[in-house]
Subunit: 319 residues, 2 copies
């Protein structure tokens, strides 16, 4: 039942995820240096900033300066994140530098939706319909659905595939009402509840209903199972993963201070490389970018590959 | 092709692996406290000490005091490690407290054997025959074969299943010559080269030849793939794993200073628990033991579960 893809796309979210959560103020020049370093690693997708309220997320008060400052490389799509009309407005100023697309986001856990967004399911439908209309008015296509807490929730406990299907159905209805065509679906293990078996079941059931959507897994390594979960996804044919260089980021949710963040891009790249799956990534360059990220934030990141290194160097020496 | 076991045994090697590599002198009383804490977690196998030359491994100069000092619990098998006749002699003094058995150890990489043991394949055959005779003379059964560097080697590069089979065959020949019956085979990813695919191939080929041996995987998390590799082993029906609480230990091999050590017992226990595989372990108690290990060595251990916690507490709160 293994359906390993021949090619995996790693969507790098280190700059956005990492600098949103780091406690100290990170210099804009350091953010730009990391984005530029990542641009030279063979990554094709880099999320560079978050256009969020600087009062709520002070770490991204310099989103404009960061996006204006990096040096775009051909063949790399740079994206950003926003949650409301104001954020969209700010992103629109960078149409020339950013690949803009809208997302319809729902949580599979209603408890998480209420806690994190202060909206129940019906409220989220209304909010997403409004955001989708705003995107449409701005000429930004809405092509993606994102499902938070798709494998479990600190506030609601286990999440079944049926709950994920309900959330995707809600999002699809919003898209349909707006006349938008969804191409991508991201299932996020926001709080680190996934296991290989949960991945298999949920991916399997979701794909049975929406076989034409390109699936992305957004995995957190909160309990050390992140790479095993990614591998389970690959075995189900999932070919796109969000990840962060060094494992930047963290889990800002209650009860887990200091918990690891996203799966590390270089661990995922190494897994692919060693299994003969193309990623287009120069692993040594990615490791260097991870070391740069560690210098910027001034502490060790969780990625084991930053300590253990790639195998290629040992292989070359042994030959 | 998934053959997940219903029960997994975790053989805890934290005390032995961890305290062998920690730089500072660890108080004997702290070693004993950790062993006693681990004894109350539901683990059935704990490796408590290493009877090695204190000049080479000063961290285990207090092996006798440690073994004499812990409080054995019923249902827990305590073991120790030794590499020569002198070490065996020292272990024999603790027949009442330790479960003693001999191992026949070979490296699948001849380069590693030469570097680590200063013996080539023929030299190792002679040494192992001698050690097996010493065990026999002492009435200690030789029941296990251990293969180091079974998935790759920093000095030799990739290791094929055929090379592992050669090493197992050599060890089986030593056992046969001595009239010993091997029951257990440990394949060790000593330097962190394994991937899920390598695990599948090597386990598959080895089991085809020796279907009656109980397989153990000894995995290092050098590059973040440890738990994914363990899961791949489980899918192949492997039901026994060595691991260390908190991920204690490290990779003392050239070129990887600071690289993570063994897979963390609590990450593996959580994986099993969440997938409905019995381990007999009280995960919360194991996490407490991991926190004790962190207090003893005075720094954070790599286990993500020590940060993220078990899911059961969140589940209980959500219910």
């Amino acid at each position: 039942m293994s359906d390993l893809p021949s090619h995996v796309t790693i969507a790098e979210e280190g700059p956005r995820e990492g600098f949103q959560i780091e406690p100290g103020p990170i210099a804009t020049s350091d953010k730009i240096a990391l984005i530029d370093a990542l641009s030279g690693t063979g990554l094709h997708h880099i999320q560079v900033a978050s256009f969020v309220n600087p009062k709520l997320v002070p770490g991204w008060a310099d989103a404009e300066a960061t996006v204006a400052g990096f040096t775009p490389q051909p063949g790399v799509a740079y994206s950003a994140l926003w949650f409301n009309a104001n954020g969209l407005e700010r992103a629109l100023a960078f149409r020339d530098r950013l690949t803009l697309f809208g997302s319809i986001s729902f949580a599979a856990s209603e408890a998480f939706s209420k806690k994190n967004l202060n909206r129940d399911r019906e409220g989220q439908k209304v909010a997403m319909a409004k955001m989708t209309a705003a995107h449409k008015a701005a000429g930004v296509p809405v092509t993606r659905i994102g499902i938070q807490a798709a494998f479990g929730c600190n506030y609601q406990g286990d999440i079944s595939p049926a709950q994920v299907i309900t959330a995707v159905s809600d999002a699809m209805a919003v898209a349909k009402d707006a006349g938008e065509t969804i191409k991508d679906l991201t299932l996020a293990d926001t709080m680190g509840w996934a296991t290989p078996i949960r991945i298999e079941r949920t991916v399997g059931e979701v794909r049975a209903l929406w076989p034409d959507l390109a699936l992305t897994l957004h995995l957190h390594d909160t309990r050390g199972l992140g790479i095993a979960n990614a591998h389970a996804g690959m075995r189900m044919g999932v070919a796109r993963f969000d990840a962060t260089v060094g494992g930047l980021g963290g889990c800002p949710f209650a009860g887990q201070p200091g918990a690891p963040g996203n799966i590390a891009s270089e661990e995922l790249a190494l897994l692919c490389q060693e299994m003969g799956i193309e990623t287009g990534i120069d692993l040594d360059a990615l490791i260097e970018a991870g070391r740069l990220a560690e210098r910027i934030i001034g502490r060790r990141l969780p990625s084991a590959v930053l300590r253990g290194g790639a195998l290629s160097a040992f292989r070359a020496k042994a030959a």
